[in-house]
């Protein structure tokens, strides 16, 4: 289950018409707002804002959202619990303990900051969904090249590399099968670790060879011609993009600055 892979069933909506670079810039303002403060009210405000955006403007089918956020559960719970238990504030004897188990004390500032950190992870998860959910990696690359002028050979070279990922999984299965066929069996923990390392090297060799063939094929089609590239899909920055960035930034500032 992937948090960020685009949904095939995304329906056109406001955020799907915003260029991916603008969504990324907008998302970054929320990420920064969520990590600059330890007051839980800030991430609570951002979670509400993200939920509103998700429901009203993202075009994402809402029933798939809980499953996509499920991998976050473990991270949220463990970070919150550890942040509260291991907080430096607990050692401060001038603070009253809210709860105490033997030598372990828990203080109110520790709980408040721990909740802020757990909520911070939820903000990051929802914002990621809003940034990457409404369109695919190709559109993101198009947008970063056209709007942010990142070097096109790097952007499209990376897109080419992404297409190699499914072959790597096949290679891994094939390597395992051929090792079994040759009677190579890992025994014990150390043996298994060494075996995993050996397989990793073989998989990387296969990946590098594939990359070299891909690069040759790309060069054969003039990828490195040095001629200025035109764009197949032109993405224009419009009022939607400016509005998305402006509103997101305003929400981020308000979430941090508004009094409780």
């Amino acid at each position: 289950m992937s948090l960020a892979a685009p949904l095939t069933s995304v329906r056109p909506d406001f955020l799907t018409r915003v260029t991916p670079a603008a969504r990324l810039a907008a998302g970054m303002t929320w990420l920064i707002a969520a990590i600059v403060t330890l007051d839980p009210i800030v991430p609570i405000r951002l979670v509400i804002a993200a939920a509103v955006a998700l429901v009203l403007w993202s075009g994402l089918p809402l029933r798939t959202v809980p499953a996509r956020l499920a991998p976050l559960g473990f991270a949220i719970v463990s970070l919150t619990v550890f942040s509260i238990l291991l907080s430096g504030a607990n050692a401060d004897r001038s603070l009253a303990a809210v709860a105490a188990f033997g030598p372990v004390r828990i203080t109110a500032p520790a709980i408040s900051a721990g909740l802020a950190i757990g909520l911070r992870v939820i903000v990051i998860g929802l914002t990621t969904l809003l940034v990457f959910g409404p369109s695919d990696p190709t559109r993101m690359a198009d947008s970063l090249v056209q709007q942010w002028h990142i070097p096109d050979r790097f952007a499209y070279g990376t897109l080419g590399a992404l297409r190699v990922a499914p072959f790597m999984a096949d290679d891994w299965t094939l390597i395992s099968a051929s090792r079994r066929l040759r009677g190579i069996q890992a025994r014990g923990v150390a043996g298994r670790i060494r075996d995993a390392g050996d397989r990793l090297v073989v998989m990387l060799v296969a990946a590098i060879r594939r990359a070299e063939r891909l690069a040759l094929a790309m060069d054969a089609r003039g990828f490195d011609s040095g001629i200025k590239r035109s764009h197949f899909r032109e993405l224009r920055v419009g009022w939607r993009d400016w509005m998305t960035v402006a509103v997101a930034a305003a929400v981020a500032v308000a979430a941090v600055a508004l009094p409780r």
Binding site: G125, V164, V205, E212
Partner: protein, 195 residues
């Protein structure tokens, strides 16, 4: 092979060929997949070790920042590789999402500074080790304020120290050994030092 077998008289041309770009990107994609498996199958078993000991294996996340520069020997390789690996983690559904892009950037920058400091001329095991530690330093500078700001100071120091040591050992020395094995297979013949 001596420790400084990777030393060269002068840096290779700084221009990236298509094969440099695609090989680094594919390696970063491969590591993005490995990271996912590492989080899902290795990291969770080390959780019971408790804070900060689980961070002894954090160096794995820094591998691309050392391995990519050792292979292509171009300025920017550490940064590019960590960013692509971060993007792949996001696409595969890493729970850290957008924040992976920030941490990938600072980790790559940490290693990049070390390779830049030796003018992209030395790619021996000592430089690899320091670059791994540099990436680990970047990781600590990101993780402590973002995820562990409330932790007691001694725990913060423990996490930062283990991240740096693990970066030096796993990403630095481990990455150098990995590139050496790759070179021995003959897979790196497209690169000057692989012949």
């Amino acid at each position: 092979m001596s420790a400084f077998a990777g030393t060269r008289g002068a840096a290779e041309s700084a221009r990236w060929r298509t094969v440099d770009i695609v090989v680094v990107a594919v390696l970063a994609v491969a590591f993005g997949v490995v990271f996912w498996a590492w989080s899902a199958y290795v990291w969770v078993w080390l959780k019971p070790l408790g804070e900060p000991w689980e961070y002894v294996i954090s160096g794995m996340w820094l591998m691309p920042a050392v391995v990519a520069p050792l292979i292509v020997r171009k300025p920017g390789a550490a940064l590019f590789a960590e960013l692509v690996a971060a993007v792949v983690s996001v696409l595969l559904g890493s729970q850290w999402g957008l924040d992976t892009l920030l941490s990938g950037f600072v980790q790559g920058a940490g290693a990049e500074l070390v390779f830049g400091f030796v003018m992209y001329r030395n790619f021996g095991v000592i430089v690899a080790l320091i670059a791994g530690a540099g990436a680990g330093t970047g990781e600590a500078l990101h993780d402590i304020p973002v995820y562990f700001p409330t932790y007691a100071a001694n725990l913060q120091v423990g996490i930062a120290g283990l991240e740096i040591l693990s970066g030096a050992a796993i990403a630095g020395v481990g990455g150098w050994l990995l590139v050496r094995s790759l070179r021995r297979t003959g897979a790196l013949q497209a690169f000057p030092q692989g012949q």
